[in-house]
């Protein structure tokens, strides 16, 4: 499947999950926060101010569409060092991470 149709399917999926408003459980949220701060943090910085990868603070993400950001997490970005994280999280969890990154990411 091409990455474009991947993204399309994913966007549709996001729309449907948004309607369901499914939030990860509190324990899973804690795991995801740890994953983002520690493991995403090895490139984006533990405080998300950027490193080899770009900064992920609300001000940096403001003008970017949430679906695209969630797709970047889930599928990675070919041609850059950004890997796909789909073996470690669901699409809904990627969307939850984006939502938190765009507001204020938990400690």
């Amino acid at each position: 499947m091409s990455s474009l149709s991947n993204k399309l399917v994913f966007a549709l999926f996001l729309l449907s999950t948004a309607a369901m408003a499914s939030e990860p459980t509190p324990a899973r949220q804690k795991e995801l926060v740890h994953l983002v701060r520690q493991d995403c943090g090895s490139c984006h910085g533990m405080t998300l101010q950027g490193g080899l990868g770009p900064a992920l603070l609300p001000a940096n993400l403001r003008d970017k569409p949430a679906e695209g950001l969630a797709a970047t997490i889930y599928y990675g970005r070919p041609g850059t060092p950004m890997p796909p994280w789909q073996q470690f999280m669901s699409e809904a969890e990627a969307a939850w991470i984006v939502d938190k990154l765009m507001s204020e990411f938990p400690k």
């Binding site: 520690q38 090895s42 910085g45 533990m46 101010q49 490193g51 080899l52 990675g76 470690f88």
Partner: protein, 390 residues
């Protein structure tokens, strides 16, 4: 009577002074542990394998690293937030701290020990500081094309008060000569796509930059730089499989043992073995994850390997004589870094998610102790003070 009293006072003062005076000691068995989440460093003694002091107030220490003054007394710590902190290991205190950039990735110290150089992501470039005062001496922006700045990776000190480094976006190796610290001169060498880290060989002759954007490693012979950087190990790299890389390997702290170099294969569950006379690949050793640090015990008999997420709880130990993994274990959660005791009888591992530093005997692999630390990452012992590229 009066003179007697004066004499007594004087001798008492002398006695007190002698008691209160500092106890003399060397620093060869000291070191520090970065506590990345809380901006602390814990100072440790490798003879008794215990911490002896803790210093706070170092800012954002995620991905922090340290280099030592040549007398092994002072550590220079480069924080992610651009903080450069000079610590006195004997007095266990911060001597000086400056914020030198917005986003830093490490640093190095010159051959003569007088210049500390920080490598920065933002604004991309390097900055040189007086090691005594941390006063800014000069800077070299990594402007590889008009108006375009690159992140700097792989900074290494090389002989002649020079520093070699690579430009991630710029795809070049630069060598800057600080023999006149305020008027540095820089030579540029095309290297390849997206160098992600670099190293200098222990003799200071070769600078290698691992490439992310293409297969292979760029190598510059610093004894004959006019020949330019050439590509080695073109089959090394992510190859056809192109496994996703969940953490960039670190090349600094790499290993040369018995005439062979052991390098992390990017995007592969392998350690690459390279003949350092020919720079040809002579073997690949399967391991249990994507290697991050591949470090030789000081005698070169063993090479210890830790791994990228999600295998970062594992450690594999390669016997360089057997050419294979002889010990595999899971010492803790989030093993980020390791450091060998000066002559290698034990190794210290930071287990980030266990909030511990674990100490293992390298002969029989038994655990010798542990030290509490808050999200420990880098461990740096003063033996680095005398090594090129550390």
């Amino acid at each position: 009577m009066k003179t007697m009293r004066l004499f007594l006072c004087l001798s008492l003062a002398l006695l007190l002074n002698a008691c209160a005076g500092p106890q003399l000691r060397g620093t060869g068995d000291l070191g520090l542990v970065i506590e990345r989440a809380s901006g602390h460093v814990t100072l440790v003694n490798t003879s008794v394998r215990q911490p002896y002091a803790r210093i706070e107030g170092l800012g954002d220490l995620s991905h922090a690293s340290a280099v030592y003054s040549r007398d092994g007394r002072y550590a220079f710590i480069f924080g992610r937030d651009g903080g450069l902190t000079k610590i006195d290991l004997l007095e266990a205190k911060i001597v000086k701290r400056v914020i030198q950039s917005g986003n830093a990735i490490g640093g190095s110290i010159s051959q003569d020990g007088r210049i500390v150089v920080a490598q920065n992501y933002a604004p991309g470039g390097i900055k040189a500081f007086d090691a005594e005062t941390l006063e800014l001496l000069s800077e070299v922006p990594a402007e590889y094309a008009p108006g375009k700045f690159s992140k700097v990776v792989g900074l290494a000190d090389v002989p002649g008060n020079k520093f070699a480094y690579a430009l991630f976006e710029g795809g070049e190796i630069w060598v800057t000569d600080f023999s006149q610290p305020k008027q540095p001169t820089t030579q540029r060498y095309p290297a390849g796509k997206q160098p992600y880290d670099g190293l200098v060989t222990p003799d200071g002759r070769y600078f290698l930059a691992g490439l992310f954007g293409e297969d292979g490693v760029a190598m510059l012979d610093l004894w004959q730089p006019e020949k330019g950087a050439r590509k080695i190990l073109e089959n090394y790299g992510r190859g056809e499989e192109k496994l996703p890389v969940f953490k960039m390997p670190h090349l600094r702290g790499w290993s040369v043992a018995q005439g062979k170099a052991y390098l992390p294969a990017i995007g592969r569950h392998e350690v690459l073995v390279v003949d350092v006379a020919t720079w040809k690949e002579v073997g690949r050793i399967p391991v249990r994850g994507q290697p991050v640090f591949v470090m030789a015990r000081p005698d070169g008999r063993q090479v210890w390997v830790n791994f990228a997420f999600p295998d970062n709880g594992k450690m594999d130990v390669i016997d360089t004589l057997a050419g294979k993994v002889v010990h595999a274990f899971e010492p803790g959660k989030g093993i980020l870094h390791m450091e060998f005791a000066p002559r290698g009888e034990n190794v210290w591992l930071s287990a980030r998610d266990d909030n511990k530093v674990l100490i293992y005997n390298t002969m029989n692999f038994s655990k010798q102790g542990e030290i509490a630390a808050d999200s420990p990452s880098g461990i740096f012992f003063t033996t680095r003070a005398a090594r090129i590229g550390f």
